[in-house]
Symmetry: C3
Subunit: 344 residues, 3 copies
Amino acid sequence: MPFTLNELAEKTGSRLSGPGESVIASVANIASGQAGSIVFVSNPKYTKYLQTTAASAVIATEQMLIGCDKPALVTEHPRVVFSKIALLLNPLPRIQPWISPHAVIAEDATIDPAARIEACVVVQSGVSIGPGTWISPGCVLEKNARLGSNSRLFANVTVGENCWVGNNCVLHSGAVIGADGFGFVWDQDAYLKVPQLGNVRIGNDVEIGANTSIDRGAIGDTIIENGVKIDNLVQLGHNDHVGEHTTISGQSGLAGSVKMGRKCIIGGGVSISDNLEIADNVTLTGRSSVANSLKQPGVYASVIPVLEAGKWRRILARINQLDDLAKRIKALETKNHNRNGDAL
Amino acid sequence: MPFTLNELAEKTGSRLSGPGESVIASVANIASGQAGSIVFVSNPKYTKYLQTTAASAVIATEQMLIGCDKPALVTEHPRVVFSKIALLLNPLPRIQPWISPHAVIAEDATIDPAARIEACVVVQSGVSIGPGTWISPGCVLEKNARLGSNSRLFANVTVGENCWVGNNCVLHSGAVIGADGFGFVWDQDAYLKVPQLGNVRIGNDVEIGANTSIDRGAIGDTIIENGVKIDNLVQLGHNDHVGEHTTISGQSGLAGSVKMGRKCIIGGGVSISDNLEIADNVTLTGRSSVANSLKQPGVYASVIPVLEAGKWRRILARINQLDDLAKRIKALETKNHNRNGDAL
Amino acid sequence: MPFTLNELAEKTGSRLSGPGESVIASVANIASGQAGSIVFVSNPKYTKYLQTTAASAVIATEQMLIGCDKPALVTEHPRVVFSKIALLLNPLPRIQPWISPHAVIAEDATIDPAARIEACVVVQSGVSIGPGTWISPGCVLEKNARLGSNSRLFANVTVGENCWVGNNCVLHSGAVIGADGFGFVWDQDAYLKVPQLGNVRIGNDVEIGANTSIDRGAIGDTIIENGVKIDNLVQLGHNDHVGEHTTISGQSGLAGSVKMGRKCIIGGGVSISDNLEIADNVTLTGRSSVANSLKQPGVYASVIPVLEAGKWRRILARINQLDDLAKRIKALETKNHNRNGDAL
């Protein structure tokens, strides 16, 4: 579904620079753009490619385009305009309502006629599925699960009993919503399971990555607010509450009862201990570990990047001596002080 | 299934304080308890809520209840009593034996008439399933897998060929038991796969979290002893051996041939290198890394919690200078010593 | 399928030492070998068992066998010879071509008559599957997925639309190939999804672990070259490119657009930030974090192994004082220098 540059400028609210008749059929990377494609630059270090790219048009800021005479869409937000064009040129497939004869659906499930249910999906008793929602093969919707409208579940997703997923959500393959939280108490000679009686409530416009696991609450619910985006292999524990528009990158894990603010940006491989509160607008860089509540917005970090192994071994030895080193500094300071005192 | 407070005291072996006639229908959090519910306090910082909670009754220690005139169950183990009551009020659903006509079951599989097999479950040749065991949709039991009695497999669980799961186990959705261990040797110009010939043996009363993966042994078996509790997204390598009543929290990983003791408590996101031995009663706090065997019981840690990013950058720069800093301390000490020597 | 020691020497290119008539029926660990089995030693610390093992024969280097009169296969590569023998004695099951009547297969899918498709597999439109490829129950092959020959997909694997898997690959249960990459841009008041238009291209002789997730490219493809071996619960982001014969151990994660070299060895639980380049022949020890490109081959590390928790707390306090400690060293040096200056 190609568009002219003129049309793309109008549809994305960007300003056309140069002729607008060329037809754009695809998006590309700045390094690999071909005739008929449009590319973007948001990182200044790639500005140099603007002039030489073989693409038919570019998307960039006014500043970046100084001295570039390529046909261009000018905007303060090149990535946003690019994403909109990518979607215009590659629209999501229109859902074809259908219930596969190979799906297994409880008699009392409520499935909107505009939903699509593929083969080997199992829909248990009391489930409801809204219009435009598309369930890929192998998904299991346990009793009384409720899915809103226009959501997409990719293959082999599990939505547990009584758990809810809102509208316009995307759940990638292998995601598990509503497994039991991890709760046990020691009782004399063995662990006793703490019943996990809550559910999972997922709002609208939420994306959940492949093989991510979101546990149900112990008492009360695990809550994912609107607009939250979660990557692959993430673990959310029982009774976590993730605020609107927070993003959580791959392999991060929140222990139980974490209250995470709005518009937080959680890097990959981050760990957050249980019962903590994280303020709105907190950024945690990749591989951070959080052991205390963070009451102030801001950027936090604790990762140690790699060194050559021999060098790291020497530093690690010093880390293990740190308490001793600090005491030796103290001793030197005391001697210095005494000598200076003597000198008076 | 409500009970009077009298009945609950008797059934849980706790002592009633105050009138015992009130009917308890639900459990709740101390902060959200309503009439008809019972709540508990185990953390002294919540003791203040005991008097003001709207719940009909509370569970706490004698000490905590001083000055509180709410109807109460008195016990040294409030969480244990609470969990027992939660289970009394919310009993697990009684399994309805059944084999779905949409399950695909090998002719020579042995399925106890008191088991339940849901739709889209595949049971291969030689599998045996004990009484009271309940297999949710989408599970795959490969050849000769053996499941004991009263175990529950949630959706989309895989149990590999020749692997065994005991009695009263719970395997959450997406768990994979018995994938090949990660074994390759370099042979001239490519890796050669080391055949993974062992199996997985899981004892009784074991819980395994969503999307957790437990590899089969290379030679000999991977062994999970009775009462072990494993959270979501955990990785256990080939020939690991986890001792009785050990708990492993989310996203932890054990490389191959780890011999883990009994009653260990492994926090979330812990890594343990291969071929190590961990003593009984070891606690590893969240995000610990273990690179050597731990022969003594105790608590071990190595995590660095986050700081504000600018502050962390300064500290990280100093970490990278640590070897130099240590040498400078040594140099200062030598000068001091020499000067003091001169002074004699 | 037992062999004589003579036959095994010939088939593995190793040298027989001692009589060659004994029949070998199984492989075993050095510690548990019984009559009829063969064992190997590659770690010198186990050499002591060579003489005492109950196994019928041993595999070791010339050096290790000094003073040992057991029947032996002599080789510089005991693990390679052992692996070859393990495979000779335990050959992979010969695939029985078959399409289960309980598989759901699109009319226009192309399935080689020598492939095997088990129950509850869903094969969508345009998929092609080569000869000798074996698809276990519960797998979902989305539109136009293409699988080569002699590959094995274990249970509940998902291969996304337009994604390719080569020949002689093994994908373990729960692996997800081709979920969307994690790409969003903030647009005024919410995140806009960046369409993920690329695919995943997996070469030949690749192994992918249980519940591992490999995202499709945003623009252009995510590429896994020939001979790559990936363990369980690994995350590969959009547009990652992993070079030939690189191995990645469990729970490691590569953010997006990482260019990983050939023959790298990535330990477990490693994190690599986005847009980095890793040279060929880089080894990253377990739990490393990589925040900058690594242009030189070599071994890199950054993990801090556990200490007893009290000791670690003291060291952690010192780490948090490091900037201050460094300044105090500087101050001491300045005083020393001044005093020495005074003394001149």
